[in-house]
């Protein structure tokens, strides 16, 4: 009985254990790894895409997907750089509003026209990419307001603001998902959308809200990213979709929908962040890193698909 409990624990928390194992390995092999500076660094790198991971986790749990997150992030970044001349606050609001509008649009098109979200967001991605390139005239644009960098360079207790925002968002959305009625609806719809509809849940409404939340988070991530150096360009976000979807699936959330948690998604992005950090410490070329990211996504979906099939035959 006790052995079985132990086995279940290992299966449930395998990602956490892998993180700890890699952490110990890196700690032994590199003096630099376990410094406060490096840990903050890891968190700062993952915080931008981490915000989007939260939204993507909600979408995958509800049985949808959003491929346009990278373009939304670039869009948010560009808007915030363009509008900051009217004040830092206006810049932030512009970037976030842009994200919300696109997310809402994704949700409305998907639900009202009953189209597969993977195809719709593929279209949004190309469309928005064009918009971003048109807005920036294919250049990197630089902000005019010197105070704008404060949103990403401010530190509280030596921890950068993006990391703090990321952690607060994690906690808020984990509580919403696990403790609120809205969260319960997300699980129900992801588990069985037809049954949920017969049960009287507003399926389309919940889906639209999830797309909008993802748009909001991607826009926010874009604003924070732009704040790092106060620049933005259409080159932002090219590999974001691959990164974010890998993180969510790596955390153990299945493409089948209906289960998962924000904490799991967080484990996924943390593992990716630590792996990236390890590859940088070991001086692996960025080209190989891109190849590894691609392989990892394929590997993760294959493992997920095998698990889904196993469950069906049980």
């Amino acid at each position: 009985m006790k052995a079985e409990k132990f086995r279940n624990f290992i299966i449930e928390q395998k990602i956490l254990l892998i993180i700890i194992a890699i952490g110990i390995f890196l700690w032994i092999s590199s003096d630099y790894f376990l410094t406060f500076q490096n840990i903050t660094n890891i968190f700062q790198t993952i915080s931008f895409e981490g915000m989007i991971v939260i939204g993507m986790a909600l979408l995958i749990i509800i049985g949808e997907i959003d491929l346009s997150v990278g373009s939304i992030m670039a869009f948010g970044a560009v808007l915030s750089v363009m509008f900051q001349s009217y004040g830092v606050f206006t810049g932030i609001v512009a970037g976030i509003t842009g994200g919300i509008v696109i997310g809402l649009m994704n949700g409305l098109i998907t639900t009202k026209l009953k189209l597969p979200s993977i195809a719709v967001t593929l279209g949004t991605m190309v469309f928005l990419n064009g918009v971003v390139f048109a807005l920036t005239k294919e250049h990197t644009i630089k902000g005019t307001n010197e105070n704008f960098v404060l949103i990403s360079q401010t530190e509280l207790f030596r921890i950068p603001l993006p990391v703090i925002v990321f952690i607060i968002l994690l906690i808020i959305f984990e509580i919403i998902l696990q403790r609120s009625i809205f969260g319960r609806h997300i699980f129900a719809i992801g588990g069985n959308a037809t049954a949920s509809k017969f049960f009287g849940l507003k399926v389309d409404m919940v889906r639209i809200i999830c797309f909008t939340i993802t748009g909001f988070l991607a826009g926010l991530a874009g604003v924070m990213l732009a704040g790092k150096l106060n620049i933005a360009s259409g080159r932002i976000g090219g590999s974001t979709a691959v990164f974010v979807i890998t993180a969510v699936l790596l955390g153990g959330i299945s493409m089948e929908g209906g289960e998962g948690s924000i904490f799991k998604a967080f484990q996924g992005i943390l593992l990716l962040g630590i792996m990236n950090n390890a590859m940088v410490i070991m001086k692996i070329s960025s080209f190989i890193q891109e190849m590894i990211r691609g392989l990892l996504l394929i590997l993760i979906v294959v493992i997920d698909a095998i698990n889904i099939q196993k469950k069906r035959y049980l």
Binding site: I118, G123, F127, A134, G294, A305
Partner: protein
């Protein structure tokens, strides 16, 4: 409505893309003098061959109900590989990419069919993988091939005033069209796309058919690479970035359904030309390049919406 009238509306609906294409050509020819020159039309055909051949391969994958997002980065990889081998031997520069394409297509198809993975997600992974591989192969640099050999003939040679690669494009299109419409394999491809379960019950090995479709897609990319590399005699590890969306846009606005089972190479060619004419007109009207992606994205969304609407009306 009379029988004849019904037939007429059917043709209108079936060939709506062709009619739009003709209308656009007529409108642009009237309004823009520089559009209706012979030089511009030859130019237009020259520009579509690379993306056209890729789109023909993509059509077959889409008919089986899948998508291949890796074509762009596979293009980049094969481009640099082809040029690097062409430096020593023209034949190697042709055959190595073709062989690699077969392997790449097989791997894509194997992962997707064997493990029943969503093809978009899986090929998004291979997109990333091959993009990294292409950059790694040349270490991020642009490489130059050897000029002055017969290798350049594929891309630069002319027959009756029309570039050779335009003929290659049409020959490929005709071969694929015959393959789809007049062979057992083509019929199997359509059955698998229409209803995988029924096809399997009928004894068709759907996994094998889909894998073949992915191989055809990558081999088409290799042929497009040969056209491109012999024309440019340079290899850059990022040339193919975004080709996947151009190809998918062409296939979808041509009228091949993303749900699979229906479509034709002919439709895709109409789609390729439609896209090229629109982009060509935008360029002639001095619309900035950046806006072209906005137009493409719009076209994808509109085409998907129309596709689903039509399908729903047919299904009831």
């Amino acid at each position: 409505m009379s029988e004849k009238g019904n037939k007429f509306t059917n043709i209108l609906r079936d060939q709506s893309q062709l009619i739009i294409l003709i209308l656009l050509i007529v409108i642009f020819s009237i309004t823009t003098p520089s559009f209706r020159t012979t030089g511009n039309f030859v130019n237009l055909l020259k520009q579509v061959t690379v993306i056209g051949v890729i789109s023909c391969g993509m059509t077959i994958v889409v008919i089986t109900g899948c998508l291949d997002l890796s074509v762009g980065s596979v293009f980049s990889l094969l481009n640099v590989v082809s040029i690097s081998f062409q430096q020593s031997n023209n034949f190697l520069g042709i055959f190595i990419p073709l062989i690699m394409a077969v392997v790449i297509g097989f791997l894509n198809g194997f992962v997707i069919t064997k493990f029943k993975v969503n093809s978009i997600i899986a090929t998004l992974g291979s997109l990333s993988f091959y993009a990294g591989a292409a950059l790694l192969y040349t270490n991020g640099a642009i490489i130059a091939g050897v000029t002055g050999t017969w290798y350049g003939f594929i891309g630069r040679g002319k027959l009756l005033g029309i570039p050779i690669h335009v003929y290659i494009f049409f020959i490929i299109a005709i071969i694929y069209q015959i393959l789809l419409n007049n062979t057992t394999l083509g019929r199997k491809i359509k059955y698998v796309g229409t209803n995988t379960t029924a096809a399997e019950i009928a004894g068709i090995r759907s996994n094998r058919i889909r894998t073949i479709a992915f191989i055809i897609s990558s081999v088409s990319v290799a042929i497009a690479v040969l056209i491109y590399s012999s024309r440019m005699t340079t290899g850059s590890p990022v040339t193919g970035a975004g080709f996947e969306f151009d190809a998918i846009t062409a296939v979808v606005i041509g009228g091949t359904s993303l749900a699979g089972g229906k479509g034709s190479i002919f439709k895709t060619i109409i789609g390729v030309l439609l896209l090229a004419v629109i982009i060509n007109a935008l360029t002639l009207y001095n619309v900035p390049y950046a806006f072209q992606n906005i137009v493409k994205g719009f076209l994808i969304i509109i085409a998907i919406i129309i596709d689903i609407r039509v399908r729903r009306r047919i299904e009831g």
